[in-house]
Amino acid sequence: MTINYNEKIPNNVDLSSDRRLQRALENWQPKFLDWWEELGPNYSSEFDVYLRTAVSVEKQGWAHFDYVKMPEYRWGIFLTPSDPNRKIDFGMHKGEPVWQEVPGEYRSELRRLIVTQGDTEPASVEQQRHLGKTCPSLYDLRNLFQVNVEEGRHLWAMVYLLQAYFGRDGREEADSLLERHSGDQDKPRILGAFNENTSDWLSFFMFTYFTDRDGKFQLASLAESAFDPLSRSCRFMLTEEAHHMFVGESGVGRIVQRTCELMNEYNTFDVREYGGIDLHTLQKYLNFHFSVSTDLFGQEISTNAATYFNTGLKGRLNEARINDDHLLHDASYPVFQVSEEQIFINETPALNAINERLRDDYIADCDLGIRRWNKIIENSGHEFRFELPHRAFNRNIGHFSNIKVNPEGRIISQQEWEKRKFEWIPSESDQSFVQSLMKPVIEPGKIAGWIAPPKGRINRQSFEFDYVRFN
């Protein structure tokens, strides 16, 4: 079997001369396509979708637009071009040249980091597979598919690393990435948030805003890695991740916009009977997705995170721009703690607080979008404002997993939580209401009544453009 790899799998890793990779991918690609067929976007194989494909890392190459059938999407393998002078920025190896090969002593830790990251990529595709049936517009359907194929490409990026650098173990892990499934009883995805349902488009937008943003922060800290191929992979993935968060932020923003229009039109806060999603319900979805995503940063005090940092495997956000010694042996960092009835902040050794620091960066970043959504409400003349819940709210990992707090961060009893939780997170009836709005709109230029049309365009095509052809 001769395959033109550069044609089939656009890449900048010299795939056509790397026999090990070729063989690994020959073996893996059919499994990936089977997986895509089985658990990727439902009933979509024959659609022609106006997609962006990365065909090179050059400026003109990374965003090539055309109609593509998704199973024929050219999942490429791209790494940001290497900098031969790149040095390790932090930890015990600071100042040494970055590693082009996996150091044997860090093999298992590196593999675990890559597997954990890789596991999230196909998971979200699985979570979102039924959404195509209820898209609010062709524009949104196309965006969903774009996000899906790019998550697929991110899976490829991680699989590439596993297969190119981790030998037999790496190949087995690459296979396992296709064997675990979101929400599966026996083999669930590794991280909790990736086993949650994404059953409606509001959840999808919230997910891309909050959960994909976790991905951005994880990728950004892996982009600091001393293992150069991982760093370079993540750097390139970050360019795509930005689009996913744009989908989330603009999607929620357009819902807010539509809700405000309905509020003004009917002069009521309760827009449900007019086919809109009321701001309270939106806040509940926000609370839920924010809290679940906050869990993804792991334990507040973590020896693993300390080891990853100290050994140079995973850095902090924009490591080089942080003004400290990048060793953190004697540094401290304020971390939220819980005692009896109180949440308080305590200085802890900074090395162990790496997760918490990244969570702080994340929370600050989340807040920016909230402000933009609030601007929409403000501009529509209303008093209501969205707020991020307290970081202790609805947590399942870390210090706060054993307590119940309200969105303001006050510790409450289990009974109070049971009594009031659906004031704060979506109840079944909220979910079925949102679900009831999910009717497909697939005529070019038309849009569902609960969301406003987008202001922006895709590759200069208007909203009326037929982004997806169903054939």
Binding site: R20, E101, P103, G104, E105, R107, Y165, G167, R168
Partner: protein, 549 residues
């Protein structure tokens, strides 16, 4: 660098005398002849240098004097047989040096017993003066112990009361396990610094015979004759010479006739490539005797023995030994067949026994052992034991790209099924498949056949079989990972995993040396500034932390 190569002409401490079928090893330690600086070897106390000579003598007796059936160990110093390891020396040595010294002396004591059992050379200890600590332990390695009854010469194991350490050269184990001394008697004996004399020593079975001073020499001679007469060794046997080894040391390599060694100090890895036999191979014992120590299996055993000891003592920080072989696998198997066919011939027996001891030494090495099976290798029979002895083995499945080699194969011979047992008296295959004789049988059923990688993997002979695409990375990563772990933890783990199966005298001796003695050597009660080992001879009393652990 400590040199382990010597010969009787160079001995400073021992004299080897041969009279017919009876040999004498006479200890007269040169006080100034210590291997390290800072101590005098008084009263026939010994250090590593003394033991290197003893080890050499035992070995030469087997190869150069095969007619010898009895070896008498005695002393030419007045009133002292041997007072054991030199304490000042022990106080000065680093921990690693102490442990290596103890291990080597243990291997030497074991080789005495091995010689008695497998070469028909029975050792007699003629204790003609005080035998303390390691001195009595040396006697314990013999089969028969005579003690002079002069009212003063005592045997003793004073380590616990005097030095706060153990009689760690097999003493504790041998008195109960070998001589069947009752444990309460042994307990008393091991806590009384001046030891026991006369009748009590005999009654408690700590010695075999008590002899009046005036009749001592005569009795020793008589016992030697009696034992010799019972032996079936022909007096006409002619030995072969063990000539000096040819070796060349460079900074990062060592070249032996049959082993090429490279030292990678950056990664802490030693690469040992064993060369298989070449040229015409002799088919019968007579031609083998003519070749003498140039005969491949013997020459290899000597090279490997020396390499293992050298690397163990002189290259402490090179923690991973990677074995490869290169040569014609048929020739290796042919050599094995010849050895097995003539194993009853004294020389062939000695060669097999020596290979056995060298492989045992390898099992006991405190190094990670990795064996790589690549095209062009010759891991058959005896050499295949290097695969089984390894903590992990990798066999290349197929060949490397663009190579014309044939894929590597393994081959078992009769050598793998009982002729080269480990310390636990099991073969390496039996130990590998402990309590699973059916697995060993499956491999035995394919004896003599070429076993390619997949089959070797499926039958459990090798650990992993990467193909050419993975080979380099898998091996590199595995070795790098290994070298990143704590050497102490690795040594402990490896030793624990290597010796599955039953305990024997040898496994007990080494197990207790590595656990108890090693621990005590680290403890302040012995090795601290106010510990007994440090204060010995100063007149000051040791301070003991009384906490029991």
């Amino acid at each position: 660098m400590i040199n382990f190569n010597t010969n009787p002409k160079k001995y400073q401490h021992w004299t080897l005398e041969i009279k017919g079928q009876i040999a004498s090893l006479i200890l007269n330690v040169s006080e100034e002849g210590g291997l390290y600086k800072g101590y005098k070897l008084k009263l026939n106390s010994y250090d590593l240098g003394v033991d290197i000579e003893l080890n050499d003598a035992i070995q030469r007796l087997r190869f150069e004097y095969p007619q010898v059936s009895v070896v008498v160990i005695t002393s030419s110093k007045d009133k002292v047989f041997c007072s054991g390891a030199n304490i000042k020396m022990l106080g000065l040595l680093s921990h690693a040096q102490k442990v290596n010294f103890c291990k080597f002396t243990n291997e030497t004591r074991n080789s005495i017993e091995d010689s008695t059992r497998f070469s028909g050379q029975t050792y007699i200890a003629a204790i003609n003066g005080a035998a303390a600590g390691g001195g009595y332990e040396l006697a314990l390695a013999s089969d028969y112990i005579l003690l002079v009854d002069d009212g003063s010469s005592a045997i003793s194991l004073p380590e616990v009361p005097m030095l706060a350490v153990l009689p760690g050269t097999g003493g504790l184990t041998r008195i109960v396990d070998k001589r069947n001394v009752r444990r309460d008697h042994a307990d008393f004996f091991c806590t009384i610094a001046e030891g026991l004399r006369g009748n009590r020593a005999e009654q408690w079975k700590l010695i075999d015979e008590l002899v009046p001073r005036s009749k001592f020499s005569e009795t020793v001679e008589k016992r030697a004759m009696e034992i010799s007469e019972k032996s079936n060794k022909p007096a006409s046997l002619k030995g072969i010479d063990l000539t000096d080894l040819t070796r060349e040391f460079n900074d990062n390599s060592i070249t032996y006739e049959n082993i090429l060694i490279t030292l990678d100090r950056k990664t802490g890895v030693v690469n040992l490539t064993i060369k298989g036999p070449s040229g015409d191979l002799p088919m019968d014992p007579e031609s083998i005797a003519i070749l003498g120590d140039k005969y491949w299996p013997l020459a290899l055993a000597r090279d490997l023995d020396d390499a293992i000891i050298h690397l163990s003592f002189n290259e402490l920080e090179l923690g991973t030994w990677v074995f490869r072989s290169v040569g014609d696998i048929d020739s290796v198997a042919d050599v094995d067949d010849i050895l097995i066919k003539h194993k009853n011939h004294w020389l062939i027996n000695e060669i097999i026994q020596y290979l056995k001891r060298v492989l045992k030494r390898l099992d006991l090495a405190s190094r990670s052992l990795v064996t790589l099976v690549e095209p062009g290798s010759c891991f058959a029979g005896t050499l295949l034991e290097l695969v089984f002895a390894a903590d992990r083995s990798y066999m290349l499945d197929g060949t490397l790209q663009d190579s014309n080699d044939s894929p590597a194969v393994l081959r078992t011979t009769k050598m793998n099924f009982g002729n080269l047992p480990m310390c636990n008296d099991l073969t390496r295959l039996q130990t590998r498949f402990l309590n699973q004789p059916e697995e060993v049988k499956k491999i035995h059923d394919h004896r003599g056949k070429d076993i390619p990688a997949l089959e070797a993997f499926e039958s459990g002979m090798v650990t992993f079989i990467p193909d050419d695409i993975d080979w380099e990375e898998e091996v590199r990563i595995a070795i790098e990972e290994r070298t990143s772990f704590s050497p102490d933890a690795l040594t402990g783990m490896e030793a624990s995993l290597r010796f599955a199966g039953p305990e024997t005298l040898e496994t007990k001796i080494f197990g207790r040396l590595s656990a108890w003695q090693n621990w005590i050597f680290q403890r302040p009660n012995a090795a601290g500034e106010n510990g007994a080992l440090k204060l010995y001879g100063t007149g000051k009393l040791a301070y003991y932390n009384k906490e029991r652990v």
